[in-house]
């Protein structure tokens, strides 16, 4: 089966090949969406971030360093986008909604006790830091840049979030 590398697809997309761009999206879109969703806990925002991030990535494809992994670059764009959208939404919101209301009320995660359950006990900042760093492989510096925080603060968030998560997972293990 023909399975071109990301580098080949990026080159083709730069040259105007729609199918190559489409395959890049097909290959890396779901993971980028998951990263956005894990950061914000909101499917609608993750959808928007994927769309706007994908368009932005295509526009900036010429500036992409082909020696670096495309998935990491693309995911960073989508995550930055979702953080911007979260900021815009919170500034625009007229009616107060508590943080938990941002989590989807349906779907497999809520029903199966998945990621949102695991991260529920974390504050928004801790959740974002741990998701971006530990699950999606962004460096502390990259996370700091995305969240507009000093690197030391991110490290502190990570330490506290891990301590808290460890307690949750061990507690769940004890209960089983």
């Amino acid at each position: 089966m023909n399975w071109p590398t990301d580098r080949a697809l990026v080159s083709a997309a730069r040259a105007g090949d729609e199918r190559a761009a489409s395959r890049l999206l097909e290959r890396h879109g779901p993971a980028a969406w998951r990263a956005a969703f894990a950061v914000c806990g909101d499917q609608g925002l993750a959808d928007d971030a994927l769309q706007e991030g994908a368009i932005r990535a295509i526009r900036h494809l010429d500036g992409f360093d082909a020696d670096r992994p495309f998935d990491h670059w693309f995911r960073a764009i989508v995550v930055k986008r979702v953080l911007t959208l979260v900021g815009k939404r919170s500034r625009r919101r007229e009616e107060p909604l508590d943080e938990a209301a941002h989590l989807p009320v349906d779907g497999p995660d809520a029903a199966d006790g998945g990621l949102p359950d695991l991260l529920d006990g974390l504050s928004v900042e801790h959740r974002r830091a741990v998701v971006l760093h530990d699950l999606f492989g962004f460096s502390t510096g990259e996370v700091a840049e995305m969240l507009s925080l000093p690197a030391g603060t991110v490290r502190s968030h990570l330490t506290r979030a891990r301590r808290r998560l460890r307690g949750v997972v061990e507690g769940a293990g004890d209960a089983e």
Binding site: S22, P30, R34, V105, P108, A111, R166
Partner: protein, 272 residues
């Protein structure tokens, strides 16, 4: 770092999630359109790369496009409201924008949707206490709220009926908009106010539509014009126009098997 087990658990939970096919196809269309625009020498698209030639032009163009998209978006929403202002309750007037002729005919005959406040509004958004309470519809298990409202809107616009995948069931408790399902029992959506209602004002929300911002102003205008007439555009309905999914208040969501939460009292409608 998180332990291997913690990462495995979290990643496993995440793997079960993903964008819907509808979202992926929408994004795919937008990406292809962007590549086409850049290959076609659209200065807005080509100059958008950081430091690229024509960047300033691109910024201006994007700004214009954004303004156009916002205007068009306002036109869609505003026209829905304008159409609704013509509505005389129970039988006359116009439904929300984008309903096809078949949809209008279906709505006239539908025992439930013909009196749905979110489809027809006489003078702005009605108060949740003033509208007739309608039954709910049940979707197959694992249907999400976003999928449910999108399916409902599409079905109402195209045929004036509830979605084929759903069946009409008993009313939900007062104030509840969405009842979650489980592996066997599907979730239920209230037909009285499927898009919820505001708190504490208690105004029934109508669907809000959004125009794909990657479209040019001319494309968007054409699309909206066709959409407003209920015409079919491209492959079936206008793909560049999508429905926004509202965030419901927690009290408007009932977990299956649990008692509904109590919403704060809605403010009574102001009387003149």
């Amino acid at each position: 770092m998180l332990s291997r087990r913690e990462k495995r658990d979290a990643r496993r939970a995440l793997r079960r999630l993903g964008p819907s096919d509808e979202v992926m196809s929408r994004v795919d269309a937008a990406v292809r359109a962007q590549v086409r625009a850049m290959a076609g020498g659209d200065p807005a698209a080509a100059g958008a790369a950081p430091g690229g030639a024509g960047a300033a032009f691109a910024v201006r163009r994007r700004r214009r496009r954004l303004i156009t998209a916002i205007t068009v978006g306002a036109l869609v929403v505003g026209s829905a409201a304008a159409g609704a202002a013509l509505w005389v309750s129970h039988g006359a007037g116009e439904p929300i924008a984008g309903v096809t002729p078949e949809g209008r005919a279906g709505l006239r005959e539908s025992p439930t949707l013909s009196s749905a406040a979110w489809v027809f509004q006489d003078q702005g958004a009605p108060h949740i206490r003033d509208v007739r309470r309608l039954p709910a519809i049940q979707f197959p298990p694992r249907t999400t709220y976003a999928q449910a409202v999108n399916a409902l809107l599409r079905s109402v616009m195209e045929s004036g009926t509830v979605p084929k995948s759903a069946r009409v069931v008993a009313k939900l408790p007062p104030g509840v908009v969405w009842r979650t399902g489980d592996a066997k029992r599907g979730p239920r959506l209230d037909l009285t106010a499927p898009w919820g209602y505001t708190l504490p004002r208690g105004l029934v929300r109508t669907p809000t539509l959004r125009v794909d911002p990657s479209l040019s102003g001319a494309q968007a205008s054409k699309l909206v014009e066709a959409f407003m007439k209920g015409a079919k555009v491209g492959r079936g309905r206008a793909d560049g126009i999508t429905a926004d999914v509202p965030k419901l208040f927690r009290c408007q969501v009932q977990a299956i098997g649990r008692a509904p939460r109590v919403c704060p009292p809605v403010r009574p409608r102001a009387t003149s």
